[in-house]
């Protein structure tokens, strides 16, 4: 009987979490402009419903592989915003000790096995992780998120086929933001797109509105159950739209302002807020989510800014067990 209320509470919580992602990235972009973020960052502004809907519906023990545009996925999997901010600043205490940066964030402690700087490379890795899950007889799934551009790389074919023939517990999520860098992916993609390709390999496909956080969560939860029930690999095609540039410095002049303005009307955060409003959630709650998120990420920023650089010994740590990586180690 309480269902409508429960749904509303869930939506409110997802609205709050989408704001966390948005605030994290806005803070990161500002820090980039200040010179504190060292390398390139790829914001997912406008795509937060995919992260919160899909990753937010995984269990803690599930494994996740993400992309260069993975801040939201990583936060939702449970990584600390402060550690992530430190990583973006290249500081000690970053998720990867400052050695990875935005494009290589991983947090194994929450099952986040890595963002990736190489488009599509995570697909085969996810298939392999699912292989291990099956070998070890574990009850968890692997979720692999990639962009619409990645479906044109070889690993898409190879990894999906692999998952099918070995019947692996993996959920492939194509987060389709319509762009691959400056290219409209559609112009470089043959056929009807991601879902049809997955179907052709025998993997059941499901399409969802990637800007509808509730729907994304529902579908993901359902697919997760199917996989755990022995249903084999599943494919989710989430349609969204990249509201900002490919990287934080890309002005995206190749899209006209009218089109972008139109798309902003479908901002997933605004959409969730609208639904909440319709159901009587008050403005102070909604703006409270935003304010709390901004405050949290501001604190993460301050902490990251104050954090020390990695110890120089970190340069030589974790290369491999054998051999000395220092060039001058051998003297004669």
């Amino acid at each position: 009987m309480n269902r409508p209320n429960l749904d509303l509470e869930r939506l409110a919580d997802r609205h709050r979490r989408m704001h966390r992602i948005r605030a994290f990235e806005e803070q990161a972009v500002a820090a980039l402009e200040e010179g504190l973020v060292l390398g390139a960052i790829h914001p997912s502004i406008g795509q937060e419903a995919c992260a919160v809907g899909a990753v937010g519906s995984l269990a803690r023990e599930d494994l996740l592989l993400s992309t260069h545009r993975g801040h939201g996925h990583t936060l939702e999997k449970g990584a600390s915003a402060t550690a992530m901010m430190r990583e973006l600043f290249g500081r000690e205490g970053g998720n990867c000790g400052g050695k990875g940066g935005s494009m290589h964030i991983a947090d194994f402690s929450v099952g986040m096995l890595g963002a990736n700087g190489v488009v599509g490379a995570n697909i085969n890795i996810a298939a392999g992780a699912a292989h291990a899950v099956r070998l070890r007889g574990e009850r968890r799934i692997v979720c692999c998120i990639f962009g619409d551009g990645a479906i044109n790389r070889g690993p898409f074919l190879e990894g999906l086929n692999w998952a099918r023939v070995f019947d692996l517990p993996v959920l492939f999520v194509c987060e389709d933001n319509a762009f691959a860098a400056t290219t409209r992916t559609e112009a470089m993609t043959g056929g009807p797109g991601p879902a049809a390709r997955a179907e052709a390999l025998g993997i059941p496909s499901h399409a969802a509105d990637g800007n509808d956080v509730g729907r994304m969560a529902e579908v993901t939860a359902e697919l997760r159950e199917r996989i755990l029930g022995g249903g084999g690999p599943q494919f989710l095609w989430a349609k969204t739209w990249r509201l900002t540039g490919h990287t934080a410095v890309d002005k995206a002049a190749y899209r006209d302002a009218g089109e972008v303005a139109e798309r902003w009307k479908d901002d997933p955060i605004a959409r969730a807020a609208e639904t909440l409003r319709m159901h009587g959630v008050g403005e102070e709650t909604l703006s409270g989510h935003r304010e709390a998120a901004v405050e949290e990420m501001r604190a993460a920023y301050e902490e990251a800014k104050a954090a020390p650089w990695p110890e120089t010994a970190a340069l030589y740590a974790d290369v491999q067990d054998v051999g000395d990586p220092r060039e001058a180690a051998f003297r004669w």
């Binding site: 290249g90 290219t183 990695p310």
Partner: protein
């Protein structure tokens, strides 16, 4: 004369070759909008989308199709965006492009150029910063070019495009903005001849790509100390100008090879070995290689800086030989 950046020089070389030879064309991701760094800005407008062709994110198909297009009578220029992504097309380059001419008994060649922006630049970390030139030099059939100046980028890219063999063309990202005055008419350069950056008699430094700047700076520092250093920019790593290097070391008796890539198994090892073999008796000091330690490239700037072979390290290596 026009002030030309390293990036513009590449653009100009490609445009001039495309105007001269209708079989020259370029393909790669995002080229229609100028390429990731702007190296192709305005080119789609001049040459149209067939000759400045966009591509899906399909490195294997980009390079593989270029091999086919080269075998079938065109001269493709492939843009790999970051040298690191060319690794997604290694079969196409190493097993196909490099070997076709030989395996097929010389019936046809593979006149393609693979442009691979390389090197450390703006904290790009482990998957966007590598210098892998030594890998390519190891592969019979490939020509390997790594220009250090705008002028060489202009002349050597032209030469690479006119070459009938596959050329791995390594532009350094940190050099995009480097400027030089260039003439209106710059003929193609010579694949295989080094450039003497500055003459000297006490020691020779061999380097290429962005490291040439540091070698030159080290030579200037040492000149103030009364040490005369000859700096050689190899420009092409295969073939490489052994004669120029041997002639110089024969005079100076001392050699430092400096490069950005990992020192272990780097191309510096080849240069050092050849010089040791040829000039063992006349060396006044052991040959010294300078390169990165054998670690993936870290993101944090202070760690990344530790990998860099700066002018000071080069100068110190020379002083140690005196």
């Amino acid at each position: 004369m026009v002030t030309t950046t390293y990036m513009e020089a590449g653009r100009r070389a490609l445009a001039e070759e495309m105007r001269r030879d209708p079989t020259v064309w370029a393909l790669g991701e995002d080229l229609g909008r100028g390429g990731v760094f702007g190296q192709y800005a305005g080119m789609a407008e001049e040459f149209g989308p067939l000759r400045i062709s966009d591509a899906p994110i399909s490195e294997a198909a980009i390079l593989g199709s270029a091999v086919g297009a080269a075998l079938a009578g065109t001269r493709p220029v492939v843009e790999m965006r970051f040298a690191d992504f060319a690794l997604c097309a290694v079969d196409e380059l190493v097993n196909q492009a490099a070997k076709a001419r030989y395996m097929f008994g010389g019936q046809g060649g593979v006149p393609l150029v693979v442009r691979e922006p390389m090197g450390m630049w703006r904290s790009s970390a482990a998957q966007h910063s590598q210098s892998l030139e030594a890998w390519y030099v190891h592969i019979p059939g490939l020509t390997v070019v790594a220009p250090a100046t705008p002028g060489d980028n202009l002349r050597l890219l032209k030469a690479a495009i006119r070459s009938d063999d596959p050329v791995v063309y390594l532009e350094h990202k940190d050099l995009w903005g480097l400027e030089e005055e260039l003439g209106d008419d710059e003929p193609p350069g010579d694949l295989g001849s080094a450039r003497i950056v500055c003459e000297g008699s006490d020691a020779t430094v061999v380097s290429w790509s962005a490291m040439v700047r540091n070698a030159h700076a080290a030579a200037e520092t040492l000149a103030e100390e009364g040490v005369s250093v000859e700096v050689i920019d190899l420009r092409t790593l295969w073939p490489w100008d052994r004669e120029a290097v041997l002639a110089s070391v024969r005079r100076t008796g001392r050699l430092v090879v400096a490069h950005e890539a990992v020192s272990v198994g780097g191309f510096g090892a080849e240069v050092a070995a050849v010089v040791s073999e040829a000039l063992f008796g006349s060396l006044k000091a052991p040959v010294k290689r300078l390169g990165a330690p054998r670690v993936p490239i870290p993101y944090a700037k202070p760690l990344e800086d530790m990998l860099r072979v700066g002018p000071d390290a080069i100068a110190a290596a020379i002083r140690a030989q005196l």
